[in-house]
Amino acid sequence: MKGGVRYEDLAVGTEIPPLAKIVTRDDIIAYAEASGDDNPLHQDDQAAIAAGFSGIIAHGMFTMAHLASCLVRWTEDPASLKRLRAAFRAPVYMGETIVAGGRVKALDPSTRTALLDVWVTVERDGTTEWPIKRSEAEIRLG
């Protein structure tokens, strides 16, 4: 799986295609099992409510994995992803739709590397929330 995006296709400001996903309780149970993160915030509504949330929330790393998927589906080359930094700034509740996106902010022709602003948003009560905000990815293309 190679050849989705070429370095020559990019310019500062190029937007990457957003990737949306509805987050379900089954997703979060499967992620807890696969990752080994069994924090009750992600499994037990009562524990989540005691911690100040309205119900269980997705793992930040689940949302970051979705962001990585968005980038790899765009480049069609998992080897292109060199670095990803995510700042977790809002919870994600079950049934919500997370949308990953990004924009090229700098290009380095000597290494064929693109630096991207990346994020994940959720629409909640008419407001855009940022489960992943002001984060950064580095992509190297063939």
Binding site: D27, D37, A51, V72, F88
Partner: protein
């Protein structure tokens, strides 16, 4: 948290990246299984890092107030099926600010040849009493 533990390195753990584990993780993050999800390294990172932090009585980390603030991965090469990763976590810093505690954990992953494959950095926040 006990700041005297800055610089502490925990016992390394070994992960076999076998096809079954890759398939399970790919399903869990809704990938089609045609490639190894880059964030599959979260699983060994939790075992080598977070699990040790929570179990370390000298550290005094309050798990019930723990929030994941930031996460960074640097992949020096992609993860492949068949990789055997040796994963080791070190407490990089412990800071206090605004009533909250901040712990930065650095995790390095090497392959069987001893080459570095991934550097991970996790920012954990233990929220202060409201």
């Amino acid at each position: 948290m006990n700041t005297a533990l800055e610089g502490k390195t925990y016992e390394a753990v070994t992960l076999n990246v076998d096809a079954g584990f890759v398939a399970r993780f790919a399903r869990a993050v809704a990938d089609d299984g045609s490639f190894v999800p880059p964030t599959i390294v979260t699983a060994p990172e939790i075992v080598a890092g977070l699990d040790h932090l929570v179990a370390d009585e000298d550290l005094g980390l309050d798990f019930s107030r723990l929030v994941h603030g930031d996460q960074e991965y640097e992949w020096l090469r992609p993860i492949r099926v068949g990789d055997v990763l040796v994963v080791e976590s070190t407490i990089e810093s412990i800071r206090f600010k605004g009533g909250h505690e901040f712990l930065t954990l650095r995790t390095e992953m090497h392959d069987e040849a001893g080459d570095m494959v991934v550097i991970a950095r996790t920012g954990l926040i233990v929220r202060g009493e409201p």
